[in-house]
Point group: C2
Chain length 155, copies 2
C-alpha cells in the first residue's frame, strides 16, 4: 500500500493530476483518502483501477462504458456471466477497431514507401496519398467484421 500522492499516481498511470481529480468528481475513481494537510493519498489498488480506466479510455470506450465495467469489477453482487458478456461486447468493438487501424497503417505505410521510391524531393500534390487513403470504406460502421477485398482499398 505505497501511499502515493496525486503526482506520483499521475506519473505511474500516465494520467495528469487534474484528470484524476475529475475522475474522482464524476465518481469514476473512488474518493481518495486525505492526509493531515488535506492532500489526497492513493494505494496500489488505485493504481490498478486508474490504469484500467486509462487503457479503456484510450481506446475509445466512453466514460459510461468504463464506469459500468469498473462497477461490475467492484460490485460483489454482480454475476461473472454478466461481466463476461460486457467484456465480450468490448472485445468485438476492439477487434473492429483493430481491423480498421491495420488498414490505416497499411495505407500510410504504402504511401511513405511510394514516396521514398518515386517522388523524392519532387513536387508532391499528385502523390497517391488521397487515392491510397480514401478508397472505399468497409460499408457500415463496422462493428461486425468488416471485410477486406483487393478492390476496396483495404489491402
Amino acid at each position: 500500500m505505497s501511499n502515493l500522492k496525486i503526482g506520483a499516481l499521475a506519473k505511474q498511470t500516465g494520467t495528469n493530476a487534474p484528470t484524476i481529480r475529475y475522475y474522482e468528481e464524476i465518481g469514476l475513481l473512488r474518493s481518495a483518502g486525505r492526509q493531515a494537510g488535506n492532500q489526497r493519498v492513493y494505494s496500489d489498488a488505485d493504481v490498478k483501477s486508474l490504469t484500467l480506466i486509462r487503457r479503456c479510455r484510450e481506446f475509445g470506450f466512453s466514460i459510461d462504458q468504463v464506469r459500468s465495467l469498473v462497477a461490475l469489477v467492484q460490485d460483489p453482487a454482480s454475476s461473472c456471466l454478466h461481466a463476461r458478456d460486457l467484456a465480450q461486447e468490448h472485445l468485438v468493438a476492439v477487434r473492429a477497431k483493430l481491423a480498421e487501424l491495420k488498414a490505416l497503417e497499411r495505407s500510410i505505410a504504402a504511401f511513405v514507401a511510394s514516396c521514398d521510391a518515386s517522388c523524392a524531393g519532387g513536387p508532391g500534390p499528385d502523390c497517391v496519398i488521397l487515392d491510397d487513403l480514401s478508397k472505399g470504406r468497409t460499408q457500415t460502421r463496422n462493428t461486425s467484421g468488416g471485410r477486406c477485398s483487393k478492390t476496396n482499398g483495404c489491402s
Copy 2:
C-alpha cells in the same frame, strides 16, 4: 462526378450531415457548391476527401493534424518529401496505437476465456479482469490524443 446531396455523401462516408456542414464551416472540407434551391452538391472528390478525413479522425488524429494532411495533399506547392515526413509521423503514432490495442484485445479475450472456463454463473467480482487489464502499461503515451464521441466509432 455523381452530384450527391448531403444525405448521400453522409451515407457513403459514414458521417452525419451536421458533421459535414461543421467540417465545411471550419474549413476542413471545401465549401460545397449549391443547387438552385440552395442545397449543397458534392462530387466524387468530396467523397474521397471526406473518407480520408473520417479515417484519420476515427483514429485519434486531431482536426488540426488532419487539416495539415489535407492541406499538403491539396496544395500544389508542397513538396512530396514534406508530405512523406508528415505521413511517417502519423505512421509511428498509428503503430504505437496498434500495439496498445493488441494488448487490450489480448487482455479482454483472456478474461472472456477464463470466464467461460471457470466462473460460469458464479459470483464474479474476483474475476481476474482487473488484474489482467491493469498490468503495467507499455510506456507509449498517447501521441495522438484520441478522444471519444458518439460518432467516432467508440462504441
